[in-house]
Amino acid sequence: MSGAILYGLAIVGLLYSFAKDRKKTKMAVLKAWKSFANLAPQLLAILMFVGISLAILSPATISRLMGEKSGIIGIIIASVVGSVTLIPGFVAFPLAAALLKGGAGYPQIAAFVSTLMAVGIVTLPTEINYFNKTVALLRNSFAFLVAMIFTVIISRVMM
């Protein structure tokens, strides 16, 4: 769905740009290609790493580790798994819902989902490339902190 909107936007943008200035459009496409080629090697490695890890860690294992009674330890495991793994949102939320049904607790799911979206350990080298080490480390630390605050609030509200 959102993919189609993005492609639509890009195509309309390209056509409009092309009608206005062919040279500039060519430059834009060239820039797009260069950025993609820049990111591709790292991204490919990241995707493979994630594939390998998720194949080893089954949803059943994850569910056992983040069970309702797993308490603080479960929250810590959930936040570490969330920070390290890279699962597309459209897979992550149904997975989280399934884990919830499978016996995972709300705080554990909150920690998992929020770190999953905002903290990226495997993409950290990529992030450092784009900004610098300090910014990337600080951003991830604060994202982790925000996730933990969210988890604490959820454990108060949803219990």
């Binding site: 959102s2 459009t25 820039k31 594939g51 989280a96 905002a118």
Partner: protein, 177 residues
């Protein structure tokens, strides 16, 4: 194309082959998950890069500074929020967008808040989140995230020395983002 940059990918590919010979089903699963994620990536990454390229070519620096620069105030924050929330795709797809914003003179704190919005209040995902985990859960997530990431953005900006902030701006100018 520099093949050495693909060495990590090559090592992981070898590991997957090894996994396949050690245990067929786990190996296949690893390949399947990788392919599935790769497809997901192809769904949004190419158009995002095209849009970044167009933005780079067509939006003059002065315009971006007016929209998201130091003096843009609340407008800059709102634009960062809308850009981040309207997005699609995982956070790493936001890095090149953030880099081109910085290149064009957007304020670092606003760009960081843009990343925060992308990682928590993305509209397509919020809809998905509330369908999967409930509205209450999602609303709390959004509220905490906006407050948390907004304060974090300014805090991080403050913690970065002026000189190293300058270096980030120089870096994005010199390289193809």
């Amino acid at each position: 194309m520099n093949l050495r940059r693909y060495s990590f990918a090559f090592v992981f590919a070898l590991i997957m082959v090894g996994m396949y010979f050690y245990d067929h089903s786990t190996g296949l699963k690893a390949v399947n998950i990788t392919v599935q994620n790769f497809r997901e990536m192809l769904l949004f990454l190419p158009p995002i890069f095209i849009l970044v390229g167009l933005l780079d070519v067509w939006v003059p620096k002065e315009t971006m500074i007016k929209l998201m620069g130091e003096g843009s105030g609340l407008k800059g924050i709102m634009i960062a929020f809308i850009l981040g929330s309207a997005a699609a795709g995982p956070l790493y797809a936001a890095f090149p967008v953030a880099a081109v914003l910085i290149k064009k003179g957007a304020r670092l704190a606003y760009v960081l808040f843009f990343l925060g919005a992308w990682s928590s209040t993305k509209l397509p995902l919020v809809i998905y989140e509330s369908a999967s985990l409930g509205l209450r859960f999602t609303l709390i997530h959004i509220t905490v995230s906006i407050a948390g990431f907004l304060s974090a953005a300014f805090f991080i900006e403050k913690m970065i020395p002026a000189r190293s902030r300058e270096l980030i701006y120089e870096k994005t100018r010199s390289q193809e983002v």
